[in-house]
């Protein structure tokens, strides 16, 4: 069942200006994990904004769950390269934020605060942040902030998780740790994921399908299915089929550079 669909979508940020993305058509199945890779400035983040309803396409249509998008969506969780935690809130309060906004949680919050807090605590514990709930974001390391940010994106049980280079600012070890964490979360309670990244290993390790985008205007060059068996342990990244997948994608990116 198709959950997110792009139909010949183009977008120019200024009227009559250069296109940021051009004629994008892709479809994401329910609970599929897709990754979009490409050189910087290829409009990957634009794609995110289109799906979340923060911007409207200049031409073409974007559908979520069969409905055309008009305005911000509430079944979406988002996490960005910067954790964007609110510095005046503790980790727990940050994670609770979507519950203060998204219905039906919003109207139940007063009555069920205890229950929701337990929910948030459980999620934080799940990502290894037990004991940090009442710390402020600046007291957390970069990796911990990003874990909290992902918790915030998932607390309202969205059907679609959008990740915009969420591990880009982390060191290699932390990054790999979070890959595994994300994969586990996704396998336990499946949701649809759109991951935007420039890290090919990350894309191949996590995604079912990888799309390669070309430089401005962003167009989809290649769609590649990654048929590595799940759950994927970290050691899979050192195997031959994995390396082959990364290599093929790398060559496509390389050819974009030359053109």
């Amino acid at each position: 069942m198709v959950f997110v669909e792009f139909e010949d979508v183009s977008l120019a940020y200024e009227e009559g200006g250069d296109l940021a993305i051009k004629d994008i058509s892709l479809s994401v199945k329910q609970n599929e994990f897709i990754a979009v890779v490409g050189p910087s400035g290829c409009g990957k983040s634009t794609l995110m904004k289109l799906v979340s309803g923060l911007t409207e396409p200049t031409s073409g249509y974007v559908y979520i769950d069969g409905r055309q998008i008009g305005g911000p969506q509430k079944c979406i969780g988002m996490a960005f390269q910067a954790s964007n935690l609110l510095p005046w809130r503790t980790t727990l309060e940050n994670v609770m934020l979507p519950l203060e906004i998204v219905q039906p949680y919003r109207s139940q919050l007063r009555r069920k605060r205890q229950e929701f807090e337990a929910m948030a605590m459980a999620l934080l514990e799940r990502v290894g942040l037990k004991g940090w709930e009442h710390k402020y974001p600046w007291e957390l390391s970069g990796g911990m902030q990003q874990r909290a940010s992902i918790c915030r994106a998932l607390i309202h049980k969205p059907q679609l998780l959008m990740l915009d280079e969420p591990f880009g600012a982390l060191d290699a070890f932390t990054r790999e740790e979070l890959w595994c964490m994300l994969q586990e979360l996704w396998q336990e309670q499946p949701f649809t994921v759109i991951l935007v990244t420039h890290d090919l290993r990350e894309a191949v390790f996590l995604a079912d399908t990888v799309y390669v985008m070309s430089k401005s205007p962003g167009q989809i060059l290649v769609k590649r299915d990654i048929d590595i068996e799940r759950p994927r342990p970290l050691s899979v990244t050192y195997t031959e089929p994995f390396a082959a997948q990364v290599h093929v994608l790398r060559e496509h990116i390389g050819s974009i550079r030359q053109s």
């Binding site: 923060l54 911000p72 609110l86 005046w88 915030r152």
Partner: protein, 261 residues
């Protein structure tokens, strides 16, 4: 260790020591050069005059304190409301800003006679002058705090389907709070300037009036006593708001406590 402690002690009490030092220099100049009291009274005679006329000084000081606080309170309310409007809606910003900047450039002392014509002399023009002079920094800071909101923080909420009011309540206002508190410190000192100016020009109450009356009878010691009382009130209120700022916006001053000696 000893040296370090002494250094710490010196830094902690630097402001008091400077005041004492300046008072001593002042006293020595007045005594040493035999400056006549009607020109420049020594701190000792200012003190004597202050103690001597304690009661009238206190009465006038309360009047000034009261008008300042009322003017300041109005300024905070108006500043916050206009600041939120200016910071949230670009159209309000475009429409109001030149006007507000222009208004802020007018020396408020030039406006006092107008207020006197409208409201008579006394408390009302003093309150209004205190308000007029101190609302601008509050407005600008609140507006700046809101306008410099990181778009990413806004996106986090917008992607959840938050309304404009939600964004203001959950992100905008908390984010602007440090700016707001910083502006209170500036505004309260300006409010004192405003009310004293107005009292000097058109009142028969308040420290400003007291100083005018004293200087017309060449009682310089009393004039200086008045000045010092205003200064003390200003410092106390400033410190009060500095303390509240620290308490309520610790997240914005993180690390400051560690680096402060």
């Amino acid at each position: 260790m000893m040296v370090f402690n002494r250094r710490k002690f010196l830094i902690k009490h630097a402001s008091w020591m400077l005041i004492v030092f300046l008072l001593l220099v002042w006293e020595m100049i007045c005594v040493g050069f035999n400056v006549p009291e009607y020109l420049f009274p020594a701190p000792s005679s200012v003190w004597a005059s202050g103690v001597d006329r304690w009661q009238p000084i206190m009465m006038h000081a309360w009047q000034t304190f009261f008008t300042t606080l009322v003017g300041f309170a109005i300024a905070v309310v108006v500043g916050v409301v206009l600041g939120v409007a200016v910071g949230t809606y670009p159209i309000v910003y475009k429409a109001f800003y030149p006007l507000l900047v222009g208004f802020n450039s007018i020396p408020k002392v030039a406006f006092v006679p107008v207020l006197v014509v409208w409201f008579g002399i006394g408390t009302v023009p003093a309150i209004l002058t205190a308000f007029l002079i101190s609302f601008f920094p509050v407005l600008v800071n609140v507006a700046t705090g809101l306008a410099t909101l990181e778009p990413e923080l806004e996106d986090v909420l917008r992607s959840l389907g938050a309304s404009k009011l939600d964004i203001l309540r959950k992100v905008g206002l908390p984010r602007a709070l440090p700016y707001f508190f910083a502006s209170l410190k500036v505004a309260i000192t300006l409010a004192f300037v405003g009310s004293v100016i107005s009292e000097t020009v058109a009142s028969n109450m308040g420290i400003g009036y007291l100083m005018m009356a004293a200087s017309s009878s060449m009682d310089m010691a009393l004039v200086f006593a008045g000045l010092i009382v205003i200064g003390i009130m200003g410092v106390v209120m400033y410190e009060l708001f500095a303390w509240t700022e620290k308490r309520f916006t610790r997240w914005a001053n993180r690390g400051v406590n560690n680096t402060a000696i």
